[in-house]
Amino acid sequence: MSAVTSLGAVSGFGLGVDALVAGALEERTALRAVRRFSTEGLRSVPAALVPGFDEPRLKSDHQGRADELAIAFAVAAGREALGDRDPADIGLVVGTNLEETAPISVLVDRIAAAVGLGGPRAAVSTACASGATALALGSEWVERGVCSRVLAGGTDVITPTVYAGFQVLGAMSEGPCRPYDDRRGMGLGDGAAFCLLEASGGPRILGWGTSADGHHPTQPAPDGRGVQAALRAALEHAGVDGVDHVHTHGTGTTANDNAELRGIFAALDRTLCSSSKGMLGHTQGAAGALEVVLSLALAARGRVPGTVGLQSPRAGVPDEVLKAGRSRRVDRIASTNSAFGGLNIALLLGEGPIPTRRCRRVTEERRVELAPDARPQARGFDPRRLDPSALLLIAAVNAALGGRPVRRGQARRIGLVVDQPRVPATSLRSLRTSIEEGGAPGLHAAAFANALRVAPTGACTRALGLRGPTDVLCGGLEVALAHAHVLAEERDLDAVVCASVDEDLGARSILLLSASA
């Protein structure tokens, strides 16, 4: 548990938390025509790109430009959150979904250098959940004394590839994004947001929970079971049983919205909720962090946000899904995100009794090392359509589990923490080739879905039937293993597998067993 003492944001409304809050209070949308790159060959769908960076320099081959923007956004938001404080001992956790040109650690180092942060640092990449995952890890670092203050959040940039990918997948709307509305479809956005986390001095991150759907590479489980599990885990971790408002993932797609509500209302009774994606767009790796910053900034003003863009709710969407924001006392909020790959996260923030954490006994049972060409025995999944990274990870995790199949009753009781610094190379190559050959409309959808750091982990949860807490970090095996230890100690699990995959070097995995002390 940590306290959020300061906020910083860059969004479609511009630089600064004030711009973000002003937009939200006025119920405006930042979605507008895309000017930063050419949308030739695609439908021109509005996106909430950070203004002021619209020079038409970003083409598909200018991925390097995207890195520059991601760093710029993060530095601006980070500096705002930092304020006048001395950055020397402050740590950094950055969530992002960016494809790589340079290694992700370089991105993190450059952000740290620009802001002057001297503490420990790591990146996380759980696709659409990255921003929230960063906050969770940052909070854990403060709580565990890894460092006393952490700047945690996310940053992301909408590139022509991402824009094309979602459109080709049929996820994007015809016009502006309208979460929970009869008019379906998502809109994209960019930006960054950071929270300064320390031991006390602000609303607290009381707890958090993650889960894996184990369902599909891009579609969430229709019964919302993953969202339900993540929320339940978060409530349990925080030691509370309700919140005043849920900031949902609410992308506006047919697949997400109803499934997500099912999961949310199964974990919480009908609670007020809203989605900000009709306002800010889906900001990918920044989403979880930007949404938390928005929630906290509004809560401080006694407000909960509405769902900009929602006019005619779909069947099955109750009145608790707010169209307009409203004033009310907000003591405690939840923020949820659901990612490609089927990972879900829920953060619990605000006021509450200081949660007691479990302290279970954790023992390391097994360590496995596999060569890069190691392949799993295919049981329960088809290996022929999986990326080599995914196969290597499945082999490593399966070996850590002793090669024994996971029983239904165990599925939620095994955690998985994966260190995955690189985007799966084969899928990335296939994706880039398809765009080179066919332009944006010729994008290979399966490659787009698989060219994410989270994708092998998602495939692994589906292949092995794992549905417990699941995270993807990019800071090296030791950082992942430390996080795995915390999960094994604090959560009611039987085991946690920690695995690290590198297509060139091979894989390592460790099985941690958890028992009551």
Binding site: P222, D223, G224, R262, A378, G380, D382, P405, R408, G465
Partner: protein, 320 residues
């Protein structure tokens, strides 16, 4: 028969599936048993279903098979053989392996129709709506049994697999829920006609008897390099001179069945490969391809449509 077809195609139909044999394989080597008998790889996990077949040694079909993964057990549903013949055929695969292979004495009640999901949701809760095709879930707390979502009519189809001592209360609850949908209890003949209209294989159809897997267009249910009994014969028959094709006529023809909704006679016929394409005149019938009609269920959006609003929902005609 017309009333039965209409219930299946437009409403809710119930059927006690006495023709289905359920065999449970359990134990530490249950996977190995099923892997030895399955003509296709077992790429499914707990909660998922895999359509397959049990081959005769000569490459023809012994049974229509649905393989279901129930945690670490395997539940196999066979259509075609009697329970004792089905068990006798499968038991040898368990020899020498640490697994039990036994008939599961449950009862199967099926629901079919564009509003079958709604009826089932009334019975067990709204989570039903999100269950994907070819998956299953536990009926707890209604029953110790399992609900499978499959169906071979092209409409929503669910199978309730229930222990015999629970049949009475479950059926009572089911009939209670089904009441408001004017549900009709239908026979196998109606279901098989709907399967024929939609393109699903039925082992009972006279025209399929004795045909090889390739002739039946069931190659998708096997993988030719798997060495299960009968596969060598399937490989040998791989490029058949004839293929089973759907045919249709405005007048009756031998082997044809009357479809009340299409107001035509439809059937299956083994046709020379060069002519086994849609639109060929065979004299007494013309070749065609499934689906022969539009399944209403494909237009149903559980969030928007309901039995109560069916008149107003402006759903398209089933006839193409």
């Amino acid at each position: 028969m017309r009333a039965e077809i209409e219930a299946i195609r437009f409403g809710v139909a119930l059927h006690r599936a006495d023709h289905v044999v359920g065999i449970r394989i359990s134990g530490p080597e249950a996977f190995e048993v099923v892997d030895a008998l399955s003509p296709r790889p077992l790429y499914i996990r707990d909660g998922q279903m895999l359509p397959a077949i049990v081959l005769n040694d000569d490459g023809t079909v012994f049974a229509d098979l649905m393989i279901c993964a129930d945690d670490l057990d395997w539940l196999l549903f066979l259509e075609g053989p009697s329970p004792s013949d089905a068990l006798a055929r499968l038991l040898p695969f368990a020899e020498g392996l640490d697994a039990t292979c036994a008939i599961e004495p449950h009862v199967m009640w099926q629901l079919h129709g564009p509003y079958a999901w709604e009826c089932l949701a009334d019975l067990i809760g709204p989570e039903v709506v999100g269950i994907p095709y070819l998956t299953h879930f536990l009926l707890d707390p209604l029953s110790r049994g399992i609900c499978f979502r499959s169906g071979k009519t092209g409409e929503f189809g669910y199978e309730l697999w229930v222990p015999p001592d629970e049949e009475d209360p479950v059926l009572k609850a089911l009939r209670g829920a089904a009441g408001r949908f004017d549900a009709v209890e239908v026979g196998l003949e109606a279901l098989d006609l709907c399967a024929l209209e939609t393109g699903f294989y039925s082992i009972r159809h006279p025209a399929v008897q004795g045909l090889s897997v390739p002739e039946l267009q069931l190659l998708w249910r096997v993988e030719l390099d798997r060495d299960v009994p009968g596969m060598e014969a399937v490989r040998a028959a791989r490029h058949p001179a004839q293929r089973l094709t759907w045919v249709r006529s405005e007048r009756p023809f031998p082997g044809g069945l009357r479809s009340p909704l299409l107001e035509a006679w439809i059937g299956l016929r083994l046709v020379d490969r060069e002519r086994a394409w849609p639109g060929v005149d065979l004299g007494d019938a013309v070749t065609t391809h499934p689906p022969l009609l539009w399944n209403r269920s494909l237009h149903i959006d559980a969030q928007k449509h309901s039995w109560a609003s069916r008149e107003l929902d402006d759903l398209p005609d089933v006839r193409p």
